[in-house]
Amino acid sequence: IMCASAKYNTRGPALIPRMKTKHRIYYITLFSIVLLGLIATGMFQFWPHSIESSSDWTIEKRSVHDVPVVKLPADSPIPERGDLSCRMHTCFDVYRCGFNPKNKIKVYIYSLKNYVDEYGTSVSNTISREYNELLTAISDSEFYTDDVNRACLFVPSIDVLNQNALRIKETAQALAQLSRWDRGTNHLLFNMLPGGPPDYNTALDVPRDRALLAGGGFSTWTYRQGYDVSIPVYSPLSGEVDLPERGPGPRRYFILSSQMALHPEYRSELEALQAENGESVLILDKCTNLSDGVPAVRKRCHKNQVFDYPQVLQESTFCVVVRGARLGQAVLSDVLQAGCVPVIIADSYILPFSEVLDWKRASVVIPEEKMPEMYSILQSVPQRQIEEMQRQARWFWEAYFRSMKAIALATLQIINDRIYPYAAISYEEWNDPPAVKWSSVSNPLFLPLIPPQSQGFTAIVLTYDRVESLFRVITEVSKVPSLSKLLVVWNNQNKNPPEDSLWPKIRVPLKVVRTAENKLSNRFFPYDEIETEAVLAIDDDIIMLTSDELQFGYEVWREFPDRLVGYPGRLHLWDHEMNKWKYESEWTNEVSMVLTGAAFYHKYFNYLYTYKMPGDIKNWVDAHMNCEDIAMNFLVANVTGKSVIKVTPRKKFKCPECTAIDGLSLDQTHMVERSECINKFASVFGTMPLKVVEHRADPVLYKDDFPEKLKSFPNIGSL
């Protein structure tokens, strides 16, 4: 079975076979022209005939009144009432959904019919604007299928958004005669205004058997957790009024109530709050003496003062959302749109999409009985949190309340997440506003683990042809007690590595990997030979590091396994004249990078470098034969949000006898190139992830007046 996941290669960088490109392109073009022609012809010739069976779908110019009429006999079956014990594993048929690589459910929509009773009277109103929008959204979405046989979820086109507009028994009969009804299994109904006088049930009263209900006013007693979906009551004002987002911060009123038909008891409690706290509480009501033509729904009044609704909501920090006859209130949507923090006073109400949305981050829920304490409760919310809640409220509206499309897709996604839980959308994706998603990091090595010392580290030496120097490095590094393996990456394709007998004899396994191409990224490939977590990347000319220094570096890495821990420190600076980043190799008081010419890091970052490097950085580095170390610094800092650790005072790394060997010198062009790399990477990452610090790590007793022989790491060189 094919996975959706990207397979990755564990063998090593492979040489891509050269293709006979010229011929290929020719054949492909030829094929496609012919094929396209065939398809076009086929469509042109046969299209109108082939879809006779479902012609009612394709004729675009059609009115909702112009749909087939279906007569419901008086004795046609009625579904059972909703089954309160339904759960996904009991009432839902998962076999219909199947395993597919995309992990997406398929949703089918029944075509629109006009149901009439025996006397020819319509059972319900024509489809509402909102329900039509909802079905259009589903139909345009990735979830949609037009093939009833492949569907996992069925959405009737019978509009039950508002129970007030329904003839309950007949609607139920209409549902029961749907072609795949089967006791409502895998059927999804959308309802926003449930119940009706006198008892105002909190779930749709239409008998619906096993059908799932996406309802806008569930109470904890009617909501079948993990089966139903709680949705908002859509506010059509959202589409009509454009309220630009207002920056978070203090507002004119602290608490505002804008609902019109509040129960007198609630109203008197609110008024008591106002009497106590004065101007900062504003309680609005319906306007009584509006001139004709002004829509009452767009105005609110306090005494004789008239306010525009919903604009007035933006004037307050908190906005009260009290239950009415029903639990779900459309005003919640308006309040969120205004970026006002909702104060929800509706005991036992299941908040919209509460299965995935963390309402504690966007609202304050207060029990009805605690209404008199509302003011003090709200005052205890820290100011910085209020600001975050305001942003969060607006984000919830934009993502999940704004349109019927948003509501429909969130509902389907929730159901999708239940059926494919291993591919579900995460808490962060549901709840974090884009600004937070952008600025936050999620460290892939988040667990605070100090890897056991016994594991040791693998040293990787990238080399081309400096055999003599390489052998010296190997000999030096092999003296480090925690070294567990040495890997030489032989990057020279024109020359064979020295014979086995010529290599230095060392106490740990030494492996030579030959690469297919001379690329810098070969240094960072996650070779299978690397069996330890810790990797020491070391250049073939770094011979001055003492065994103590290296061992200490490894110990530091163990305390910071998610960072680059290295010896040569570098800094990036903002060049105010040139308005861009600049690379700095002077000995300064600050460090933001360590070069991978001598650095410890986690093997995981090899995996990231090879497979997850953003943009074209990896190829760019290979093409320029430079800056692989800077790229690694960017990558690690970007994914962890943490700084590097420079260890020990060592700052000089080029030995006098090996300076003149190749072109990677310290001259001016080199610095310019390195600066260019920083600017290039910063633009690809879209940010500057490097963190500047002023510290380095030394052994606890470094330079302390203490007998050297008692120090764990006495031989720490200077500069």
Binding site: L30, V297, P444, L449, N589, K691, E694, V700, L719
Partner: protein, 765 residues
């Protein structure tokens, strides 16, 4: 080449022409079937009159949703109380919130009766509660009640089943229909159908039960707990088994199961099918028929072969070496296997339909387990194969975090249960789901401190924020003279000279009143004096970690009056702290070690190559730790710290290490060639012996230092060792972590010009 090209081209051309000329029915039908996929989808129609459609409700109806004929809210709430009882209980109908208002969240356990034997697990639960900061011996104060009757095992075939519970409960005057009671249960029901019946009427009590079935679960009221064995440790608990993060996971097996196969009865459906996915290579699924007395009666053809295979593998070995572990339902929905796999970092693949997962109200299980479907067992191999290696790594780490935060001991399980209930009492002062599911976890993130994530030291990276740029210097003064000493004045000058200092607070813990404000030095930052609360609460050294409202910056620089620091030391340490806001960053360090001779932990102030404690006589840390110290630790532990010399220091370090699992950070300190300050006699007897904060003179000591005996200093050390050992006992493990490094300025003691160095003053002798 040329000819081949030509031929192909011609063939296609011919085919094209053929299709053009033939328009017959046969081809039409052919096209209908084959062209099905390329056809445009039959979408929901774009109705011509869609813009004329009416809204689902008129605006009036939406905005004034009221009905004057309805009963008043108060009546409605009263009526609700009678309807929603027992199986329909919710917090608002079955729980008396008013009991919790006056004294806060206090838990009472019924006195244990002598003739009532308790199972090991239940007495551990009761002990956990009695040791917790919520415990009250006074039922009048209590918000929540816990029975002394062991209700863990309600399988009436079990020897631990307690009979006549109903009768006993009715005799309790506090029972009150079960209101505000919490009942723990691990096993309910029995063979053959294992209904979740407890055998007595729990009334309106909250049920904390293992293997909860969603349909019986009262959402927002009951709590699902994990099944744990009687050997589950009381406190501390074993750590998880993940020692290294590797991608791809270097485990021998992909998916394993080893367990019983039920031949009949409930749960056999799933267990009978498990052998199908066994491939003998990376998927090992072994079942045995051997269980119960009469298994041979139901034995089928597979049994003998299966039983042989079963013996070839060791359960522990599989657990250690597999990436995923199948956790199927047993007779009941939950199993020991769940926690075992979690601890082993073997990602649980659940096959237990309808199981309300443990603490699902708080824990986001989607990040740590694969919730499979019993019906779709055969899909499991492909599902787990398709999970990206980096997600596998994230799952593994999350299992370890959850195990360690909520499950590794009975204490943690009980506390998680209590905190979930407590969060319901004050929804506006409760933890968001985020806090529960991110390190260090909900138990260590107190909503009483703040509900704003940025106020905690832990979440800056995840939120893209950073800690505040100023610190509060907090100096504790206990000298009896009543006047200001020279070192103190110097300290105030040095600290106030830091550009990062926001204010100086002096905690005056002396009987004598502090000198009048005129006597204090003039500083560029506000200097305020707090009167110690010592008098109010008895001698309390841990007073210095009280969350004083006057501390408003994230960073606290905790100081003693004898501490000697320079401005550049303070500046450097603060800059370092900003990189490690969750740790203690400071100057004088100590270390702990295991003393194999005495079989106890030792504590030393000698110079060593390692450190695990940074003294709070000169250290930066986050102000949240004041709240955690005072709000999280039970009063008994703080009293213990008060009773021993310099123990509060160790306690603070142990606490922070328990939270972060990381060592503190030592920064470099200018060497001081001053004679040790003579031991100060505290203003309150026996309470004020604190070691001088400077580095002590060197005395070579590599591993366990020789035991110090006799001297006054020796007594203090033995007290500190006692303190350390008692804390380890209380925590159940040794939380301290050692570090081998010290952070110095980048150019520290380098042979470069002093002018280049930002912290040159640090190097002056």
């Amino acid at each position: 080449m040329q000819t081949r090209k030509k031929y192909i081209f011609l063939t296609f051309l011919a085919a094209w022409l053929l299709l053009f000329s033939f328009g017959g029915d046969q081809l039409r039908r052919f096209a209908f079937f084959s062209g099905r996929k390329t056809e445009a989808r039959r979408n929901w129609p774009r109705w011509t009159d869609r813009s004329l459609l009416k809204s689902f409700a008129n605006p009036e109806e939406l905005q004034s949703d009221g009905d004057p004929s309805l009963p008043s809210p108060r009546e409605r709430r009263a009526a609700r109380l009678n309807v929603y009882k027992n199986s329909r209980c919710r917090m608002e109908t079955c729980f008396n919130f008013s009991r919790c208002e006056k004294h806060g969240f206090k838990v009472f356990t019924y006195p244990r009766e002598r003739d009532q034997p308790l199972s090991e697990s239940y007495s551990k639960i009761l002990t956990s509660i009695e040791r917790s900061r919520y415990y009250t011996p006074n039922p009048e104060e209590a918000c929540l009640f816990i029975l002394s009757i062991d209700t863990l095992d309600r399988d009436h075939l079990s020897s631990q089943y307690v009979w006549n519970v109903d009768e006993k409960i009715r005799g309790f005057p506090l029972w009150n229909g079960g209101r505000n009671h919490l009942i723990f249960n691990l096993y309910s029901g029995t063979w053959p159908n294992y209904t979740e019946d407890l055998g007595f009427d729990i009334g309106q009590a909250i049920l904390a039960k293992a293997s909860f079935y969603t349909q019986n679960f009262r959402p927002g009221f009951d709590i699902s707990i994990p099944l744990f064995s009687k050997d589950h440790p009381q406190r501390g608990g074993e750590r998880g088994w993940l020692y290294q993060d590797s991608v791809p996971p270097k485990k021998k097996y992909l998916l394993v199961f080893k367990g019983k196969r039920y031949l009949t009865g409930i749960g056999s459906g799933t267990r009978n099918a498990l052998h199908h996915i066994h491939n003998g290579k990376d998927i090992v699924s072994l079942t045995t028929c051997k269980h119960g007395k009469d298994w041979e009666k139901h034995k089928d053809t597979r049994c003998d072969k299966d039983n042989v295979n079963y013996e070839k593998f060791d359960y522990q070995e599989l657990l250690h070496n597999s990436t995923f572990c199948i956790v199927p339902r047993g007779r009941r929905l939950g199993s020991f296997r769940f926690l075992e796999a979690l601890q082993a970092a073997c990602i649980p693949v659940l096959l237990s339909d309808g199981w309300e997962l443990p603490f699902a109200e708080a824990i986001d299980w989607g990040k740590a387990v694969i919730v499979g479907n019993e019906k779709l067992l055969l899909q499991i191999p492909s599902i787990v194969r398709c999970i990206h290696p980096e997600r596998v790594l994230a799952f593994q780490q999350q299992t370890q975090f959850l195990w360690d935060a909520y499950f590794s001991s009975v204490d943690k399980i009980v506390h998680t249960t209590l905190e979930i209930i407590k969060d319901r009492l004050l929804p506006h002062r409760s933890r968001s789901r985020f806090l529960w599911n991110v390190l260090p976890g909900g138990l260590l993130a107190l909503p009483e401190f703040s509900t704003h994530l940025g106020d905690f030291p832990f979440y800056h990276l995840q939120r893209g924020s950073s800690p505040s740029e100023k610190f509060t210097a907090f100096i504790r003064v206990i000298s009896p003279s009543g006047s200001l000493s020279q070192p103190l004045l110097r300290l105030i000058q040095a600290v106030s000279g830091s550009q990062f200092c926001a204010q100086i607070l002096v905690l005056w813990s002396c009987e004598k009143p502090p000198p009048p404000s005129g006597k204090w030095p003039q500083t560029s930052v506000p200097l305020n004096i707090i009167q110690g609360r010592g008098k109010v609460r008895g001698a309390g050294l841990s007073d210095r970690f009280f969350p004083y409202a006057a501390i408003r910056t994230d960073a606290v620089l905790s100081l003693d009056e004898h501490t000697s620091l320079s401005t550049s030391e303070v500046d450097f340490a603060f800059v370092v702290w900003r990189s490690f806001p969750e740790r203690i960053v400071g100057f004088p360090a100590r270390s702990h070690f295991w003393d194999p001779e005495q079989r106890r932990w030792g504590y030393t102030s000698k110079w060593t190559n390692e450190l695990s404690i940074v003294l709070t006589a000169a250290a930066f840390y986050h102000r949240y730790y004041h709240s955690l110290f005072t709000g999280y630790l039970p009063a008994g532990l703080r009293e213990l710290a008060d009773g021993l010399a310099a123990c509060e220091d160790i306690l603070m370090n142990v606490l922070v290490a328990a939270v972060t699992k990381l060592p503190p950070i030592k920064v470099t300190q200018r060497k001081q060639h001053k004679e040790n300050v003579p031991q100060q006699v505290g203003c309150k007897e026996g309470s004020a012996e604190t070691p001088p904060a400077g580095e002590q003179s060197p005395s070579p000591q590599r591993s366990p230092p020789a035991k110090v005996k006799g001297t006054a200093g020796g007594r203090r050390f033995s007290q500190q060792q006692d303190c350390l050992n008692q804390l380890v006992d209380w925590f159940g493990y040794m939380p301290l972590v050692s570090s081998q490094l010290r952070l110095d300025p980048v150019l520290y003691k380098d042979q470069v010009s002093v002018l280049r160095k930002k912290y040159a003053r640090l190097e002056r002798p």
